[in-house]
């Protein structure tokens, strides 16, 4: 295995749309290990920040830098969208697709996709059309598809929104296993319990800025600004 694509550095990076700055300028570093949780009110820029890091949004200002050349970094990361994007294929075809794209042979891709389907609890649904899956199953499919190439870093945008407690725990277990296998995790969430369980680092976003950051275990509790405290208490923060 070649060296890690991390750390990831944002240097005064900003996303713009139609003359407005949606995010930034942001300076931050995603170091080699851990689970980064991104929190903040609706519209604070969590999705935009994740998309910027992943390269789905261009940095209109500043830079997004990986430890390796960008072209290589792009192939070693994955993203789980706020609303899972399902291909019009069956479950196996969806999960195997990234492998096929990157040159793995069909039979091998199929075998590994079946393994992953079992791992995320979709072992009984291999041949079903992805569109027939429930919300929780769709998220699991998206997760398996994102993890199948064992990315160095995985971005997740509220993967457990709309899921019940059990499905949320199942997805967290998969994430913990991926983390232990060496995948760096950066996740936006509105679930503070989940943030508490997983975070080794927290970014609190407000109006497109990283308003406050904290790291280490129990990092959520270390957020100290009045805005962050109010947000954690469930007050409305603007």
């Amino acid at each position: 295995m070649v060296g890690s694509i991390l750390p990831l550095r944002l240097e005064a990076a900003a996303v713009r749309r139609g003359g407005n700055r949606l995010v930034g300028p942001v300076d931050l570093e995603i170091a080699a290990e851990g689970v980064t949780i991104v929190i903040g009110p609706n519209g604070s820029g969590k999705t935009s920040l994740l998309r910027l890091m992943h390269g789905l949004e261009r940095a209109a200002e500043g830079r997004v830098r990986w430890a390796v050349p960008e072209a290589e970094a792009r192939t070693r990361q994955a993203y789980v969208f706020q609303n899972p994007i399902l291909m019009r294929r069956h479950v196996l075809g969806n999960i195997a697709y990234p492998l096929l794209v990157h040159g793995v042979h069909r039979a091998e891709a199929r075998r590994r996709a079946a393994d992953w389907a079992v791992k995320v609890g979709l072992g009984e649904a291999l041949e079903r059309q992805a569109s027939s899956l429930s919300g929780g199953e769709r998220q699991k499919l998206a997760l398996a598809r994102a993890l199948i190439r064992q990315p160095d870093i995985l971005f997740l945008d509220e993967p457990c929104a709309n899921l019940d407690g059990r499905a949320t725990r199942e997805i967290e277990a998969i994430l913990v296993a991926a983390r232990d296998a060496g995948t760096r995790i950066v996740m936006a969430t509105h679930d503070m319990g989940q943030a508490r369980r997983l975070a080794t680092e927290v970014f609190f976003l407000l109006q497109g800025q990283v308003h406050e950051a904290a790291s280490g275990h129990g990092s959520l509790g270390r957020l100290a600004t009045p805005e962050a405290r109010a947000f954690l208490k469930g007050d409305i923060v603007e």
Binding site: G55, A78, Y79, F81, I85, R89, L92, Y97, V101
Partner: protein, 234 residues
């Protein structure tokens, strides 16, 4: 009213007796139109998908031209192909004028813009769904086009069937480049035109019913095949 009845009877008699001439021209109609649609699909569908996926300077104009070409008058297409293939034309040496190949060439030109436009419309919607995912997975442009064509195959079938409908019912272009020669280039539509001109209205109408039945049969066949396609295929 009487004529329509006679037409139905003529059609029934032609089909029931498996009239030699009828089966021959019906088979030629199918052969020419199906070949033209297959070629038009092979050209038009990737083109439509490519236009959906790529951003370039003249894209809007290219799409506008493609849409406009859907309205290309077949007679004019026939005339141009005639000039190109005639003995003094640039492709005269191949001796293709008044052959089924010439008819296929003309129909490909008539049908491709239609197939490409419908395919483009369908693929554009699918691309809007897939965009972020395919960018995230770091697909190449040609992988994107292939994924869209494959996953959109059911809607693309509609494009092909629309093309087939236009081809099998087309008369202007193939009349000019084919010449409606008996046992060589006569097809259902040109035969109908000829019989009408000769005043054999019942026979013309009978051929018309056969044409309609053929078009419907092909549509039903293709839809049945696509529905029975196993969902697990990839």
């Amino acid at each position: 009213m009487n004529e329509i009845l006679e037409g139905l009877i003529a059609a029934a008699r032609l089909v029931a007796t498996l009239d030699r001439d009828l089966t021959e021209i019906a088979a030629r109609s199918l052969q020419v139109s199906v070949t033209a649609v297959v070629i038009a699909s092979a050209l038009g569908m990737p083109l439509g998908a490519w236009l959906a996926v790529n951003r370039f300077r003249w894209r809007r104009h290219v799409i506008a031209v493609m849409n406009a070409l859907m309205g290309l008058p077949p007679v004019v297409v026939g005339l141009v192909v005639y000039l190109l293939l005639s003995r003094s034309g640039p492709f005269g040496v191949f001796g293709l004028l008044f052959t089924p190949t010439a008819m296929i060439v003309a129909q490909v030109i008539v049908v491709t813009p239609l197939v490409a436009s419908i395919a483009h419309q369908a693929i554009r919607e699918l691309w809007a769904d897939y965009h972020d995912l395919l960018i995230s997975i770091h697909t190449t442009k040609s992988q994107r086009v292939r994924a869209l064509l494959w996953d959109g195959r059911r809607t693309l079938l509609t494009a092909a069937l629309a093309g087939f409908g236009r081809a099998i019912g087309e008369v202007g272009a193939i009349m000019i480049v084919g010449g409606n020669i008996d046992h060589a280039t006569r097809v259902l539509t040109t035969a109908i035109a000829l019989e009408t001109e000769k005043g054999n209205l019942a026979l013309a109408l009978g051929l018309g019913f056969v044409l309609i039945a053929l078009a419907i049969a092909v549509n039903i066949l293709i839809h049945t095949l696509s529905r029975t396609e196993r969902a697990s295929q990839w």
